[in-house]
Symmetry: C2
Subunit: 212 residues, 2 copies
DNA sequence: GTCTATATAAGGATAGAC
DNA sequence: GTCTATCCTTATATAGAC
């Protein structure tokens, strides 16, 4: 006769527990996006995951904790762009910038929703999270600046204002996420990314034949 | 002996009443911006104008009414750009686009705050106001499209994607307003407007010598 | 026209049964 | 681990005194 060991038991519970937490997390992002953080109640969130508030509080400490979770997670999108650059290794500044810009502009839908969340709900974050968020934004813009600098040094780019150009690349994505309601009838995410990327490259490339 | 006529009396009251309402309106914009609509209570708003909630409700019917007032007012900023174009009369497409872009990018601070409000608090508007807002945005973008078209026809501009360029002009301002916390140490509003305007013109002008 | 007091509703969070 | 019941706080909005 076989009995399940206590450790396996514990792991099992932890697995379903983290599954539940994940479920709550996903539902929270969805509701926060649709109605805003302040307009989403814990009761609603509980209903969305087929629980009652009492049950919900078994998994999360407070509403604020959820906001923190979502915020932290959203910031990973920023890091993934830098990770891509590293994985690409030794390529030309032209190709590097194009690849990273395109990647940043086509991050999948979940990440897109998180971008909106960050951008819009800054006012509902605690002071500490606002700080973390700001740093993350600055860091990503700085990353694009360095890509631009590389190209300038290599003689491939000609850029009037490096910061502003980097800022605009960063913002192209935010624009798409926050103005989705306006753009969805006109572009797919893919088309938007392609065209904005081209617009950027056209602005800075010394040799315009390299656009393709 | 002179007595004030009833009509003068009435006008006087209406004047102070509308002054009060204006005061409430200004305070509301300020608070909504800083803390978001949902996080701003009528009590707070009352305190901000040195009243109690009871007094406040003498002037406004509901919180929703205030949001509607602010929304409607914010939309005037869009109209003022079109009005400028008309007032300029018969000038070259190049000059017209430059003037309107610059104007749109430098609208004074109050209008700037209202832009943030609209962009961020869309989720707190009623369905009807969301509709009005969307229309107004589309209309302004369309206005920039027509300016671009004029230039293309006149052979002054060369534009790959007219809508996207118009959209980016529109968004340059929203960017500045919503990312003010990021940009304020780097640009004055004036500098930002100048540089973004130049970036746009550089992208589309056939004859680049016409930039400055 | 402004205040105090209060009705009424909703939200976050907890205690304790099962 | 989930539910019911409930506490406490805060919010919108109104009634009526002054």
């Amino acid at each position: 006769m076989q009995t399940t060991s206590p450790i396996v038991e514990k792991n099992k519970k932890e697995k379903t527990a983290s599954k539940r937490k994940r479920q709550i997390f996903d539902a929270a992002i969805h509701l926060f996006l649709e109605k805003g953080v302040a307009n989403t109640s814990m009761r609603e969130l509980a209903v969305a995951v087929n629980m009652t508030t009492g049950g919900l509080y078994h998994y999360v400490k407070s509403k604020e904790e959820i906001v923190r979770m979502v915020t932290r997670n959203a910031i990973y999108a920023h890091e993934s762009v830098k990770a891509l650059r590293k994985s690409l290794g030794d390529i030309s500044p032209n190709e590097a910038l194009r690849a990273c810009t395109k990647f940043w502009l086509t991050l999948e839908k979940t990440a897109q929703e998180q971008t909106i969340f960050l951008d819009r709900e800054r006012v509902h974050m605690g002071a500490d999270m606002q700080q973390v968020y700001s740093e993350s934004v600055r860091s990503l813009i700085h990353f694009f600046e360095s890509l631009l600098d590389d190209g300038v040094k290599a003689g491939e780019f000609e850029v009037d204002n490096v910061f502003l150009t980097a800022f605009n690349i960063y913002m192209s994505r935010i624009q798409f996420a926050t103005k989705w309601w306006l753009l969805q009838d006109l572009f797919t995410a893919e088309e938007y990314a392609t065209q904005q990327t081209n617009a950027v490259m056209k602005q800075i490339l010394v040799d315009r034949n390299k656009i393709s």
